[in-house]
């Protein structure tokens, strides 16, 4: 793990939380969608708040894919779940949702999970992965 990789993880956290917040605000403005009018959900993405949310979530997706290219899924997910703490602050202060004491406690537990996983190794080493990389290096050498 180096600075570049931590910045990618930070990108996953920030783009993910802000993207979800924008979606939430947009969907609240659109109102509840009844199941017999489910088609409405398809056009929800042209609502400005939802559209910005989608753009932020695209940035989230790019950082997430980059992180998955060098770290385990079971490392990336908990390491970036600190985003829910960020999301709770956004929900309370920007969206004025009611975040109760038990929800805060739950969010603290989720954040504690981050602490555990972040201390461990980021990637499981599989012998066949290393063989694949080595053969790739060899074939590049030949070319």
């Amino acid at each position: 793990m180096n600075l570049r990789k931590y910045l990618v993880l930070l990108g996953v956290v920030i783009f993910g939380a802000s993207g979800d917040a924008f979606l939430s605000r947009g969907m609240k403005q659109l109102g509840e969608i009844p199941l017999d009018h489910w088609q409405k959900i398809i056009f929800a993405v042209v609502h400005p708040w939802v559209a910005v949310g989608v753009l932020l979530l695209l940035a989230f997706f790019a950082s997430y894919m980059t992180a998955l290219s060098w770290a385990d899924l079971t490392y990336v997910l908990p390491a970036t779940s600190i985003g829910y703490v960020l999301l709770a602050f956004i929900a309370k202060f920007a969206l004025h949702e009611n975040v109760t004491a038990t929800r805060w406690l739950g969010i603290v537990l989720i954040a504690a999970g981050v602490g555990f996983v972040a201390q461990g190794p980021a990637l499981t080493h599989h012998p066949h992965n290393e063989e694949a990389r080595e053969s790739e290096v060899l074939s590049r050498g030949k070319a």
């Binding site: 659109l30 489910w38 959900i41 899924l73 829910y84 999301l87 999970g113 499981t124 990389r133």
Partner: protein
């Protein structure tokens, strides 16, 4: 009914995004470090390599389904319930799926993280 719909959407999100996460993670491991690849071959090569990987496309399809389920859930419930509940349940499903399908070494540290998150979910959902 509103709560039942919200929880059904949350279940759909968990199932679809676990499938998506496993497929995407598998695709990315096949490709290798994207940052390194970009330095060597350029951004265009990275993008074309990623979008021509079948598992990436299947993963993306599952994620699209998860996204629309998320929009449905958000139209019925607060984001501070839906987002942590669905993503943390997905995280537990992923720990199991990553061990079975991706052969990741899920050690005690990662299981403790899973339990803490599970406890967190229960509290968030009350």
């Amino acid at each position: 009914m509103r709560d039942l719909y919200a929880w059904l959407s949350i279940a759909a999100i968990v199932l679809a995004s676990t499938t998506g996460d496993v497929l995407l993670s598998h695709a990315m491991k096949q490709i290798g470090d994207l940052g390194e690849l970009r330095r060597r071959r350029g951004l265009f090569h990275v993008i074309s390599r990623v979008v021509s990987t079948p598992n990436f496309l299947f993963g993306l399809l599952a994620m699209t389904f998860a996204f629309y389920s998320l929009l449905m859930a958000l139209s019925w419930q607060d984001v501070s319930l839906v987002a942590p509940a669905s993503a943390s349940l997905t995280f537990i499903a992923n720990a199991v799926a990553a061990r079975i399908f991706l052969h990741e070494r899920v050690d005690h540290r990662r299981w403790i993280a899973a339990l803490l998150v599970a406890g967190g979910v229960a509290l968030v959902a009350i």
